[in-house]
């Protein structure tokens, strides 16, 4: 029987090389960021003036990047092409699993910066502020988002975590 991690990794690797049509992703991403904003409004207080900062999150193992402007009155969260990045103030680069694990407080942001798994350029204060604001959100943002997509979302998240940690026990 094949190792599910290898199977998923192979699929993921193939996906990473494909040109991704961005348009269908946009409403999904907007729905995700609206959900996070609705569930964690205190996050915006910590962001302070950086609610108006334009962040690029470069997913190094996918053929796309994410553009985030965390202004609660005009949220922006959309997929963009890496060769056509919009004007931005801060740039964060890392692979999807590492970024997800940081988002869920499974790995320390400074530690993955020291190990060079996370690369940041541009407005350092904005990035530090975003990191601190997200770190004050308890619970799992990734699980919240996965739950929006039902069983398929939860399975995809579980597979991604399997890749990071090895297979997990099914929750009862």
């Amino acid at each position: 029987m094949s190792d599910p991690r290898e199977t998923f990794a192979a699929l993921w690797g193939r996906f990473a090389d494909l040109p991704v049509p961005l348009l269908p992703l946009q409403p999904v991403l907007y729905r995700i960021v609206r959900r996070i904003a609705a569930r964690h409004p205190e996050l915006f207080d910590r962001l302070g003036p950086h609610q108006r900062t334009n962040f690029i999150i470069d997913l190094t193992d996918l053929p796309l990047a994410l553009h985030l402007r965390p202004n609660p009155r005009a949220l922006v969260f959309r997929a963009v092409r890496k060769d056509r990045l919009p004007r931005h103030d801060a740039h964060i680069a890392g692979d999807v699993l590492t970024l997800l694990r940081m988002l869920d407080a499974e790995v320390d942001g400074d530690a993955i910066f020291f190990s060079r798994e996370l690369e940041i350029t541009g407005d350092t204060e904005a990035i530090v502020t975003l990191r601190n604001a997200l770190d004050d959100v308890e619970g799992s943002i990734a699980e919240d988002v996965a739950a929006m997509f039902g069983a398929a979302g939860r399975m995809a998240l579980r597979r991604m975590r399997d890749m990071a940690h090895g297979p997990q026990l099914e929750s009862v």
Binding site: R46, M102, D108, G109, D110
Partner: protein
């Protein structure tokens, strides 16, 4: 042997709850202003958050230590006075102070609340420590990280207060509370504005060889190769070039973290009452892992067992660890 109180960091309310749940005996934190030495963007507590955090900690039997450990500049003392009054109203268990004026104000206005002397006061001799105890009623001194364990034992024998030492985090060999390197480079003061290497003046640049350069204000303070572990963007951890070292060298300190887990029994035997974990700017993931590791280790020592030491190397700066001056002053 002492009880070995575990004093843990929290930069956000979520980190504070994480520290409590991971086994902290006490948690130190600060307000969102220059009254504490980690005045970083997006970090620290509003008065409302601190009030709720005090309630949470007390409900679990933990204590809150409020860091007011910076030095008020002329004409701005009111901010520190208000922070002390607010902390007292919110029920904090102790204030961590460095400035004598702040210590005097709290000793006079809130005499029932414990005063701890911050490492920022750089009190490293029995005479200096006794002065703070005598004049302000200080109950605990946080010792600078420049003393060997035999020296700590000697100090303990001569002072009438508790001792707290750092056990994990910054190596911290500078004379703390006196460092002006950030001030020189940026015009902002670590000790008065509460921020070492302010983030808005830090810049990381990707080099042509896929390496990374770190800049603070107008100065390049380090350059890392593509596969090389990085460190914090502080001048004291930078590498510099001169005629003797054309490829650059660490002129002050290296990016390396203090980890005294192996020395816990010796420290407790020498009379260290409390162990401080550094890292208010670090994440919940760091707090959870480091606090849980040291909780288990301290409990093992208390129970007379050999402490099981978790591997914390991945969380260290530069991914390197040292026992620093606690083991030997020839650490380098």
């Amino acid at each position: 042997m002492t009880a070995g109180e575990l004093v843990c960091p929290a930069g956000t309310p979520a980190a504070l709850r994480t520290a409590v749940d991971a086994g902290a005996d006490s948690i130190y934190c600060g307000f969102q202003n220059a009254t504490n030495a980690r005045n970083f963007p997006g970090l620290n507590f509003t008065p409302q958050e601190l009030g709720k955090s005090v309630e949470y900690a007390h409900s679990k039997g933990a204590r809150i230590l409020l860091a007011l450990n910076t030095y008020p500049p002329a004409g701005k003392f009111g901010l520190w006075r208000e922070a002390a009054d607010l902390g007292a109203d919110l029920g904090v268990d102790a204030f961590i102070v460095a400035d004598m004026g702040v210590a005097a104000y709290i000793a006079k206005t809130h005499p029932d609340i414990r005063l701890h002397l911050s490492v920022q006061a750089a009190a490293a001799s029995p005479d200096a420590i006794c002065y703070y105890v005598r004049e302000f009623g200080v109950k605990r001194v946080v010792l600078p990280r420049i003393l060997t364990i035999p020296e700590i034992r000697e100090i303990k024998a001569e002072i009438p207060c508790e001792i707290e030492t750092f056990i994990f985090g910054n190596h911290g060999l500078m004379v703390e509370g006196r460092c002006s390197l950030t001030n020189y480079a940026t015009g902002l003061s670590t000790n008065m504005d509460g921020v070492c290497s302010p983030a808005h003046l830090v810049e990381y640049r990707r080099d042509a060889d896929d390496g990374m350069s770190t800049r603070l204000g107008p100065f390049t303070i380090d350059r890392f190769g593509p596969q090389e572990s990085a460190g914090y963007p502080t001048i004291c951890k930078g590498r510099y070039v001169n005629s003797e070292h054309p490829d650059g060298y660490y002129a002050f300190e290296e990016p390396i973290s203090l980890n005294l887990s192996r020395l816990l029994p010796a420290l407790m035997d020498a009379g260290v009452d409390a162990f401080k974990i550094e890292g208010r700017q670090r994440s919940r993931a760091y707090v959870k892992k480091v606090v849980a590791a040291f909780r288990a280790a301290v409990d093992d020592v208390r129970a007379g067992r050999e402490p099981a030491l978790a591997d914390l190397a991945a969380l260290t700066e530069g991914q390197k660890q040292t026992e620093g001056a606690f083991q030997t002053k020839k650490w380098r």
